[in-house]
Symmetry: D2
Subunit: 152 residues, 4 copies
Amino acid sequence: MASVMEPLPASGFFHGGEHLFPVRVFYEDTDLSGVVYHANYLRYMERARSDMLRVSGIDQREAQEQGLGHYAVAEAHVRYRAPARLDDALTVRSRVEDVGAARCVITQNVWRGETLLAEGGVTVAFVDPAGRPRRQPAEWIDRFKQLCTSIS
Amino acid sequence: MASVMEPLPASGFFHGGEHLFPVRVFYEDTDLSGVVYHANYLRYMERARSDMLRVSGIDQREAQEQGLGHYAVAEAHVRYRAPARLDDALTVRSRVEDVGAARCVITQNVWRGETLLAEGGVTVAFVDPAGRPRRQPAEWIDRFKQLCTSIS
Amino acid sequence: MASVMEPLPASGFFHGGEHLFPVRVFYEDTDLSGVVYHANYLRYMERARSDMLRVSGIDQREAQEQGLGHYAVAEAHVRYRAPARLDDALTVRSRVEDVGAARCVITQNVWRGETLLAEGGVTVAFVDPAGRPRRQPAEWIDRFKQLCTSIS
Amino acid sequence: MASVMEPLPASGFFHGGEHLFPVRVFYEDTDLSGVVYHANYLRYMERARSDMLRVSGIDQREAQEQGLGHYAVAEAHVRYRAPARLDDALTVRSRVEDVGAARCVITQNVWRGETLLAEGGVTVAFVDPAGRPRRQPAEWIDRFKQLCTSIS
């Protein structure tokens, strides 16, 4: 039986208008060239965005289960600077650049200590369960705008 | 024991300077929103590029095992137009836009029949086993240039 | 615009009560040890089962969208015999061993030519959209039983 | 530029001869049935084993880079009890059951609080860079045996 003592998954935090989220590189992330497979940076970036919502007090699973909607990626780009390797501890640094009625533009860079590994960004669109664009909840927009402008 | 009769994995082909590669959507590709997870389009695009090399008579595994080098993605971008669903038969259409000494720029779009699902592109850089940029084999460059300019 | 000529994803077939399905190994499948990451064999096996349904004329996406239900894996095991490498053409050979009211037991082995790479098996349970066990459609059971007993 | 303040990836710990490792469920882990895709439990289990090595002071990346060798999964099995969903905080509880010259047998169960979601286990074999079985470093065996017998 599970004891009461449980380890907790890593959580990110906001600092000076930026969200920081830690990622550990595991075997599953690498490919035979010995470094992290390029598509997995998009997964790291998505984990960071999910954590950003959680830390902001937004429950995306509840929003989905209640039929409110969810975010779909409308556009993504990554520029790869340096490779990540097994066991590396990375940090995804995300910044909400722009918040529209139905969209957010987010810059997301992946660092290992002082080394920039990947520069990326996504535009996410809020959509209803059928995938049609819809306005983001007003309360969420307020939170994102607050995050955009907060100072260290 | 395995019989002599074996089914063959799908193979793509070139047609009018464009490479066409088929992809089937499986459970593993989808997420809880019911459609293909956005990062997986980069995987589809990479499968198409690997097939493009194979069809061109370039053995990337041999090149890697002999220490010649391999392609690393230097940059990638995707614009998502419409979702793909379980069991969909997709086609990745790739076009080598530019071939440099150490790099190729490739446009890659994902279609389901007449519907464009995703527009993407990558820049790949040839690197040695240590990850340092190196010139692509001259013979490969010739083949790519031929592919760029071929007519239907 | 997409032309009318489209490549087709690979399809498997039944032969002597066994289902054969081809898989190509891509970069995404490997890890830094240079061979296919062990968990990906379960993905290959799932692709083969999805193909088995398709070839049998069962539309699992329609079944899911209409609220009929879907298969959930109740148990899985794999014994790894030999590694698979980039560009390998593999064959998943599946055999429905037993069909119950709500479950199927399926043996699935992965071969590269005459070499057995992995011996596996799963028990899948049919569940309703809420994840509760339910009887498989009678018509499906009939098809599976036919597949179990068919002779080469 | 990266600041000096960095969030840390989650780390597991040993407690009473058992290793506990936390996992957060992200979008990438789920499939269209709304729950975690079955093969991903093997990935969670592998992450826990990698963490177990790290916490034990064993650097598997160094071991691989120096040509010492790495662990290959020889056998794996999972029995699925209950589904995991987006945002769930899970715990992988691992126990080294047996340590041989070249192999370890490890039981690994996945919990969400007091609910057992999956019961699994693997046998891992130490192999040289060419994939041939070799004896585990004596010092590692000592550590594992210590872990096997430690008391809460």
